[in-house]
């Protein structure tokens, strides 16, 4: 059971954003994608989520073509955390998290719902914020709330289904405590068997955090595989167009 991306190409007005991209996302594994600005990382994620229909190629989720999966079933098999827009009305934090609850009813009777909300908000360190208004939170806190909502979405009852979670730069603009918090939870999710696909900007983070890495430039995959194979001075320097030096001993890159 995997997500299989076969030879995806996508462009707008004759400008190609993705060229012949193929990859595979497996359960229990963290797959990161890195690359310069405008290289097509977020677009690729949108194609995987089904936001965008590619010009050619296919996305096969657990053996089924994405186009043939109903919108409501897509939400069960994959959840996604992206850069979100502001919310106009004054929802409580708890209400925002609850939006990730996909079961058609909230079954408060058996306590399962309450427990899940408690567990997840605790995991994300936002249990003290549940009664606050979402719009009164700081940017970082709001991000943690969306993170919790994404986790709740992936937490549905279909135990035998291979599920996937996508994250678009989940740790951008977060303090280091929250960054570690998010990374640890994502790790844990991978251990539980979820297939994880992450867009990352921070190269050091990508190296230390991923099981496999895709390096993409101008919509084309330059290198894909084990972090140690991708993090090669020559390849990185060429893709990012600045001299990059990678220190294998401490797992850090240097570029200034």
């Amino acid at each position: 059971m995997t997500i299989e991306v076969n030879r995806i190409s996508y462009g707008i007005n004759n400008f190609s954003i993705l060229r012949d991209v193929s990859l595979e996302i497996k359960g229990g594994e963290i797959l990161s994608i890195i690359g310069p600005n405008g290289s097509g990382k977020s677009t690729l994620m949108k194609v995987l989520a089904g936001d965008i229909i590619p010009d050619s190629g296919s996305v096969i989720i657990n053996g089924k073509n994405l186009n043939d999966i109903e919108i409501s079933s897509r939400a069960i098999v994959r959840s996604m955390m992206s850069q979100t827009q502001n919310i106009v009305y004054d929802f409580d934090v708890r209400e925002i998290i609850e939006m990730g609850w996909l079961e058609s009813s909230i079954d408060q009777a058996n306590g399962h719902f309450e427990n899940t909300i408690k567990l997840i908000s605790n995991e994300c360190g936002i249990d003290h914020l549940l009664k606050r208004k979402f719009n009164s939170l700081s940017g970082g806190e709001q991000r943690m709330v969306h993170f919790a909502r994404t986790l709740l979405q992936s937490n549905g009852l279909q135990k035998n289904l291979q599920k996937y979670i996508f994250f678009d730069e989940p740790t951008a603009n977060l303090d280091i405590k929250r960054e570690l918090n998010i990374l640890n939870v994502i790790r844990k999710k991978a251990k539980e068997g979820y297939g994880i696909f992450v867009v990352l900007h921070d190269l050091n983070l990508a190296y230390n955090f991923s099981d496999r890495i895709i390096l993409i430039k101008d919509g084309k995959i330059s290198k894909m595989g084990d972090p140690n194979d991708v993090f090669d001075d020559e390849i990185l320097s060429e893709v990012y167009e600045v001299p990059v030096y990678f220190d294998k001993d401490i797992g850090r890159i240097k570029y200034y």
Binding site: D51, I71, T84, Y89, G100, I106
Partner: protein, 335 residues
Amino acid sequence: MKYVNSYQMFIVYSSILILLVVLGLALSFGSYKVTFIDYLYSDMSKVQESVFTKIRFPRVLLSAFVGASLATSGACLQGLFRNPLADPGLIGVSAGAALGATSFIVLGSNFIQGSVTNPYLLPLSSICGSAFVISALFFITRGFGKEGITYLLLAGIAVNAFSGVGIGILTYISDDSELRGLTFWTMGSFGGATISMIGPALLFIIFSFIWIIKEARKLDILQLGESEAYRLGIDIKKLRFSVIVSSAIIVGISVSLSGMIGFVGLVVPHLARILGGVNHSFLLPSSALMGAILMVLADLFARTMIKPAELPVGLITSAIGSPFFLWLIFRIRKS
């Protein structure tokens, strides 16, 4: 109601209670002396009975439904556009409905006798008018992001002006009998409502209410943004269609029966949000109830203030609504 908490349920039940009291009051006061109590318990003269059942009762019923309609459609449009200033009057949806109704009265009279009292085709043409405006506004304001709030209102000015031009031209080209029909309709208000005229319309309004309240949860999730809502399993196109069509039905019918009444769709949903919360499972029913309360009271006021003459009810709602609108703009600027 799974997504409504107990405090919100309390507000909904209280609103139902208040609405019943207000309906009783509205049925008991007017230019002619006959009360609700008379109707239930004492012998009435023929005149009293006919005033009560043929004039006052349909009028009060219609005002309640129109109030509920305008408030609910305001709440729906505010949800769909993710814009707190969306009011069917301000953004031109009512004007579109009015243009639809006017077109039918003037152009339709060539084909159908008595177009101004046709209980099906007149509302239907209004519905087409408002549906067209909502869809057009939706596509015009798409992609403006946060600035959409302003652009929606600007587009509303244009739509209102355009409808004004259309209605003006139609008035100009209409012949004597069409003009009489048009004037009769423009004066609108809730007077002159009869059960046979409003009956079918009210059924359609009830049907739309049920339809839209079923979408309440989806409207909540839509507040995260369209792509987020899609990723949470919501078929955005279907939702958009439901909201546009049902809002168009309730606004179109209201306008076709009672003319343009402003600000109810703006004031009431905000009141409901302040009182109980922003989730649509609560917001839509409570807006409907509070809209009905407000409109029945406004109409009661309009017809008893200077009886036996009466004030246009739109005057009263605008008197309440316009300062509220200014306050709202002020509040948005602060946040």
